[in-house]
Symmetry: C2
Subunit: 168 residues, 2 copies
């Protein structure tokens, strides 16, 4: 494992902790957030420019692409880790545009099922292909074994955070 | 808090690319996003519950904490990588609540300078201390050398993405 560099002017001031007590964890969080914000900003921009689409809409379609028989509407906010209230206008708009359908379950009419339409699936595949190639180009200079190493490390990080959340 | 069920839907099928061509880069992005979303959700929840505060407001104060003589208002959206339009209501509210001031520059009255108040700084320090301890507890089971290694790897990742963005 590589040693940490001497604090650079940028890293030395990173984060709000002035006492240094939690410095490393806070710095790690700020790095995670910075990488995600940087990549997300570019993905958002490209979705908007190339497809006149938003990332939350794409994220909903990505979930439904994995569920050929549809998904209970209430599952979507859990899977996307957003509030149901934030999701409602996004789902409404996708229904209006014909990308998804929202129908009462035949088993329990109080339960709504959302399902991707054929047109939605076509649009999603087209966008997913571009999404993949944007990411490949953004990360083109990161060696493959580093990409794989980071995937593994972030999986472990996520597991550790989940465990901590369950304990708290 | 409501945890996402195992297996995580985000990681279960590794993103939208069905052809596998860009799979590793897409998977890395989804891991980054999943870690960030998980931690961010918990931080948001705690800010709300313990301080009745939002993360974007905290982020603005964190920027101003580093600038004792204040910051040109137009710098804030760049530093926080958000749109000026999204930031305006947040700044307005912080001004109203007395955490920051917004005054015309003495050099050029068209330029607005935002600056943290004494009260704002006190509130920020209190919250920053909690923010640091929340992160320390969320990441308590991640060994220190792994935290440091990840900081360095994410710094390099950010650099590679920035370079790619500049080239494009």
């Amino acid at each position: 494992m590589a040693l940490v560099k001497e604090p650079s002017p940028v890293t030395a001031k990173d984060g709000p902790d002035q006492d240094g007590e939690y410095r490393a964890q806070t710095r790690l969080w700020l790095r995670l957030l910075a990488c995600t914000t940087l990549i997300e900003g570019e993905l958002r921009r490209r979705f908007r420019e190339e497809f006149d689409f938003t990332m939350p809409r794409f994220d909903v379609l990505a979930q439904l692409d994995r569920e050929p028989s549809g998904l209970v509407l209430g599952e979507l906010p859990k899977r996307l880790m957003v509030s149901a209230g934030n999701l409602t206008p996004i789902v409404d708009r996708l229904v209006e545009d014909g990308y998804i359908t929202r129908t009462p379950s035949t088993l329990d009419r109080r339960v709504q099922i959302v399902c991707m339409t054929v047109e939605g699936r076509k649009a999603f595949r087209r966008m997913a292909k571009s999404h993949g190639s944007w990411l490949a180009s953004l990360l083109a200079d990161v060696p493959q074994e580093r990409v794989n190493g980071l995937i593994e490390e972030l999986d472990e990080l996520k597991g550790a955070v989940r465990d901590a959340l369950q304990k708290s």
